[in-house]
Symmetry: C2
Subunit: 306 residues, 2 copies
Amino acid sequence: MSFIIIAPPVPTQKWKEELELIAPEIPLVIGTDTDNPDDIICAMVWKQKPGVLNRFKNLKLIFSMGAGVDHVLLDDSIPEHIPICRVVDPQMAFSMSNFVLMAVLNHHRSLYNYRKAQEKKHWAQFEFEERNLKIGVLGTGFLGMNVAKKLHALGFQVMGYSTSNKETPFPSYTGVEMDTFLSQINVLICLVPYTPKTEALLNYDLFKKLTQPTYLINVSRGSVQVERDILKALDEGILNGAFLDVFEQEPLSAESPLWQYSSVQITPHIASLTYPKESVRQVLECLNLVKKGLPLPNKVDRKKMY
Amino acid sequence: MSFIIIAPPVPTQKWKEELELIAPEIPLVIGTDTDNPDDIICAMVWKQKPGVLNRFKNLKLIFSMGAGVDHVLLDDSIPEHIPICRVVDPQMAFSMSNFVLMAVLNHHRSLYNYRKAQEKKHWAQFEFEERNLKIGVLGTGFLGMNVAKKLHALGFQVMGYSTSNKETPFPSYTGVEMDTFLSQINVLICLVPYTPKTEALLNYDLFKKLTQPTYLINVSRGSVQVERDILKALDEGILNGAFLDVFEQEPLSAESPLWQYSSVQITPHIASLTYPKESVRQVLECLNLVKKGLPLPNKVDRKKMY
């Protein structure tokens, strides 16, 4: 039995190192090239090309190397019987929550305005107040809930929206209550998975339903946002700024006007980093359960796409 | 009986509004000019000129309009028998902690590097890792403890130092253990009060005792830092950056080289904002206790200076 990693160089190298440390006895193939495709029982993938997994007739487990699985499911040739799992890692939640907190706090305390003042050597005392934030977390799954709970624990006013009912220490909305949720917030944190239902969700019509102006933070998937509409909403003052970590096309084209908006912060899809150590541990655990025919934690529902 | 506010215009206006709302029956004097100095029983002050309070022979309470009281105690003509109190406000802790968290998280996630990349329209994916922070809070009083506990709750490695022993869920140091504390941290958050003992505490000798390099966050008092030494430590790589909210001279002179250091963030002494509503409530409560001869909460120890 062998494992295979099909992913870009940066995660591949780190996962390889961890696997060699934890399970040195398991032969590991990097990339799709192998003379013994029938030996592969477990594939760790990130944006694999559709169809490449079909060579491995004895594949028992596919593991997404990130929290999102939309990239795996783009490949509709994967047989239904092979379980796809994703990493659900407290360290990843630490990473994501810190990133979102940073984005929220910089907005809360007008850091970008103070930056501009610093560039002019201007002592801008008493020029900016703390903003009174009403924070909405759209998508309170594993990562979104962690973000929402941390913001709530820090004393911020928080609301959540999820497709399923959630027990939360703050108001939570679900189903048809989306408009009610949107109307009450002035910071929108998007942490939904990418599915056909969430594609282009962050569009002009949605922005108009928010308290005006609202600050947008998207750390989910670029396909969830309509960048043309974000620009329009910024120009019209419907949005007063945005922190975007994901984009319709990645890397973001140098042609995009987003780069130059002073109220827009851009990071290159790094909000949540995966920690291979814990992920690799979960791969081995999952494979063990597969062999025993036991239920898998964090198995992806292919219909829901998360 | 009357109250008096002696402070710059910005806090004065807000405190005046709150006082008129909560205690409209109490005559209020703004500034030092009054025909009836003997009516004044309570003075709320921020950086009053030494000696100005001596006119008020019936003064029963002096209240500092901020968390620090060094500005009040500069005036050594204030009779010993008049109690000086300071505001201890959960809202102020909310404000201070958010500010410090912001400074820590921006450093943790290399936000300033991503800002520079954005200016060049450069997609800097995988170029910066999350920094492994060992955070030291120097001065775990009311505000410092709040900061330290929040960072600890978020999952960061935190250490505290205080002149007194503290029960904390993270390692705490006191007394002669300062060097041990300093040697273990790579983020130094300074929240000590300004006293003769803390004057120029943040100097080159202290920086050399830190893990190299360390990130410096000073949100206490400018007199606690030696800016010449901060510049030297930055130039030598002993410090890898600083977030400074306070300065030896405020406003910071346009001549200061600090403005232009790309690894230095400057804010104009706004880390912790006071919320007059709660402060004014505490003034009235204190005065009530003074009248009854009862012990005062948050009374300043003039020797300790906090």
